[in-house]
């Protein structure tokens, strides 16, 4: 039963996640948090690992969460679950519905989905940020101000924007994560 539920959960996530890995994060987050499978901090650690290891972020997340819940079988089922809807839909499109995107109704549907996905990604970042920097899950909780985190964020933004506009080069996510790890050790461990 447990494994079946895990599989179905990721099947559901795979079926409604438009916009690739990042689009999937908000869906994964509220499913996983509302079921108490992971804490926000654990989830963020997983995301960091998923970003700094090779492979599709969605697959990395599914494998990681599956493994944390049910070992190898959990990882396998979660990953299969997240792949299957995508696989089936693409096969249908490739074999039968070749003109899927040419239907205006489909374009209409996607015209509504796209802004929703974009807003969800940003909103996920903001709610994660509120929890990380103010220790606040919701207004009923107690607020604890994480000023060191805000300083690190400031440094990251400065590095990100500085590199983009001064050096005309984007800093890769992995470099950002490594840099933030160093900052974490300096601010939380040494200062």
């Amino acid at each position: 039963m447990f494994y079946l539920r895990l599989f179905l959960l990721f099947l559901e996530i795979g079926a409604v996640s438009f916009g690739g890995g990042y689009g999937m994060l908000s869906v994964i987050r509220d499913q996983v948090l509302s079921r108490g499978m992971l804490t926000e901090e654990q989830l963020m650690n997983f995301i960091a690992v998923a970003e700094s290891t090779p492979g599709p972020i969605a697959i990395n997340m599914a494998t990681f969460i599956g493994a944390s819940q049910g070992g190898f079988l959990g990882a396998l089922l979660a990953t299969l679950g997240v792949i299957l809807p995508a696989f089936t839909i693409i096969l249908l499109v490739a074999a039968i519905l070749k003109n899927l995107l040419k239907y205006e109704g489909v374009q209409g549907f996607l015209g509504g989905v796209r802004p929703a996905v974009a807003a969800l990604i940003l909103a996920t970042a903001v709610t994660m940020g509120i929890r990380t920097f103010f220790g606040l899950g919701n207004v009923y909780g107690e607020c604890s101000f994480n000023y060191k985190g805000l300083i690190i964020l400031g440094v990251l933004i400065a590095v990100g924007l500085g590199s983009k506009y001064l050096l005309k080069k984007k800093v890769s996510p992995i470099l950002m994560i490594l840099f933030s790890a160093v900052l974490g050790i300096v601010f939380y461990g040494l200062i």
Binding site: E12, E41, M44, I59, L101, G108, G137, L156
Partner: protein, 219 residues
Amino acid sequence: MKKPLPKLLSLFLSFLKIGAFTFGGGYAMIALLESEFVSRKKWIGREEFLDILAVSESTPGPIAVNTATYIGYKVAGVIGSVLSTLAVCLPAFAIIFVISLFFDKFLALTYVGYAFRGVQVAVVYLIASAGVKVLKGLKRDFFTIALAVAVFACFVTLSLFAVSFSSIFYILICGVLGLALYFVRMLARKKSTENKVDPPDSPTSPEPSEQAAEHRRDE
């Protein structure tokens, strides 16, 4: 003398390589896919590749899986799609599974714990910048902007007040609203052609979509 097996094997190995060496998910994979299948092996035409990308970005699921399934099918049918999808996921699965075995012990190390408190900040930053990038790519019409603002405001407010409302509903509701808008527009167009009045030009002209093409045909 090309037998089908070497082709399947080479398809599998290509996707295994792409799965093992792309960091940053599906979008980072696109350049590699292009050089591997369009430029080098010439299994997929350039136009066809763009179609595949458009479908992969518009259907649910990981973009890497979508493109792998599609390219695999184009090259070698259903078996090709199964092999490509497995190959693109296999390295990620193996690496993450091994990491998951040691992760908790690793995190328990004091300085690793400190490092991850910094890393969590980077995660917020990276997701926010991904969100901004996707937002910038949206159309600039009233409907799109209104939906994005509404979803953002609802999501943040509800989660602050600890009301649980699944992201899935936001996606589906907005999709249905988009569909409804399409029907309303279609009805309006029908009416205006019945009255022999030219359909009113929409103010959002910089749309590369079919609407623009239709206007051109009308003229």
